[in-house]
């Protein structure tokens, strides 16, 4: 092979690649400038919606201590707390909000985002009778919860024990966190 080590050649190649990457980067920056605020406000709206769903009237973020590593944020109001937790499900994190009243009882849960299997784990977040039945069973529960397979009182979704277990873990973390708040 011919030795090609002259500076002109190396420069030409590097500059071409530099030019391409710069143009692509500039384009991306432009698109990001347009979409970033829309994405941020959509996420914010989703979080607020989830808080309102489990804690009527919403709440304000407060400082918290957490030993499970699952709690992301705690919102408080006169009625109780909304705890944002992110347990690991079957296929990635399940981002959800748990409403808990002043006596440490679950007010309700709302799933913000999840990537569980369609038709199985995703039922937990579904807007249908099955999904609602699963989520509503937690209302009024307190203490330490477990799915019925593990000897607890939570009815798991058929074919999605891991998802059900993850959500139960998330609720436990939220309950423990609120208990820690006193």
């Amino acid at each position: 092979m011919k030795k090609q080590s002259n500076i002109g050649y190396v420069l030409r190649i590097s500059l071409t690649l530099l030019l391409i990457t710069s143009v692509v980067a500039a384009l991306l920056a432009g698109v990001n400038m347009i979409t970033a605020p829309i994405i941020a406000s959509a996420n914010e709206a989703k979080t607020q919606e989830a808080i309102a769903a489990v804690l009527p009237g919403g709440g304000q973020p407060i400082p918290f201590t957490d030993t499970t590593g699952l709690v992301k944020q705690v919102y408080a109001s006169d009625l109780g707390y909304a705890v944002q937790v992110a347990p690991s499900g079957f296929d990635g994190e399940i981002d959800m909000m748990v409403g808990i009243d002043k006596e440490g009882k679950v007010l309700g849960i709302s799933i913000i985002s999840q990537t569980e299997t369609a038709g199985l784990g995703a039922v937990a977040a579904a807007d249908n009778a099955k999904g609602e039945a699963f989520r509503d069973q937690f209302i009024g529960m307190s203490g330490s919860l477990a799915v019925s397979k593990d000897g607890g009182q939570v009815d798991a979704i058929t074919g999605a024990t891991i998802t059900s277990r993850a959500i139960t873990d998330g609720i436990n973390a939220a309950l423990a966190c609120v208990e820690g708040l006193g």
């Binding site: 030409r12 190649i13 979409t35 959509a42 369609a118």
Partner: protein
């Protein structure tokens, strides 16, 4: 340029999924509902057309020694743009496709077409190639989606029709859940590939018989 030939190649004889066996990862992973299949197919088609056009336009400027790096940067740029736009304007699709949108960057179909077609052909032909290959990819995805959704969840058009629930065809409790799981993906894809090969052989022999009869 032969549009009809390119279309036939993309849809059947050189179908990216069923014949070239490219992009298997996304095909197996996201084909659980019609909404996912169509969304992924359309996203890939758009990126494929854009990257094919740009790479074809730049094919004489990009030195061959760094072409792969240049292609990947261009493809990654388009994928990120589509990803951001989906997050901003169609969050439901962005959520259900999850990590597979960013992974389009390494979808072999796009780099494969850049290397095999766009780097050797004109802009218009490359755009048509992108469209045809994209349609082929989408068609294959939709076929696998419809079968998996019907057998695995018992519905048709999940995420799209009937307020996102799909039209129930098989009563609840009867569908074989495993079909929606990864193992079902392999089974269904294998059967669809076998079926398409059978169909193509049949078309070919019929064509040969016709020619022999002449």
């Amino acid at each position: 340029m032969d549009f009809k030939k390119q279309f036939k190649e993309g849809l059947l004889t050189k179908n990216p999924v069923l014949v070239q066996l490219l992009g298997m990862c996304s095909t197996l992973a996201i084909t659980t509902s019609l909404f996912n299949g169509l969304g992924m197919g359309i996203a890939v088609t758009i990126i494929l057309i854009c990257s094919n056009v740009l790479i074809s336009a730049l094919r004489k400027v990009i030195p061959s020694q760094i072409r792969i790096a240049a292609y990947i940067v261009i493809i990654a740029g388009f994928v990120t743009i589509v990803d951001l736009l989906l997050q901003a304007y169609i969050p439901a699709l962005s959520e259900s496709l999850g990590v597979f949108i960013p992974l389009i960057v390494v979808n072999c179909i796009i780099l494969g077409r850049a290397e095999a077609f766009a780097s050797k052909n004109g802009v218009l032909a490359s755009a048509v190639d992108g469209l045809c290959q994209g349609i082929g990819y989408t068609t294959a995805l939709v076929i696998v989606c419809v079968i998996r959704e019907l057998l695995g969840s018992g519905t048709f058009g999940g995420g799209l029709l009937n307020g996102g629930e799909g039209i129930r065809i098989i009563p609840e409790g009867y569908p074989a859940m495993q079909i929606v799981m990864p193992v079902g993906g392999f089974l269904v894809l294998g059967c669809v590939i076998a079926g398409s090969q059978f169909l193509m052989k049949k078309l070919e022999t019929r064509k040969m018989d016709k020619e022999a009869a002449k």
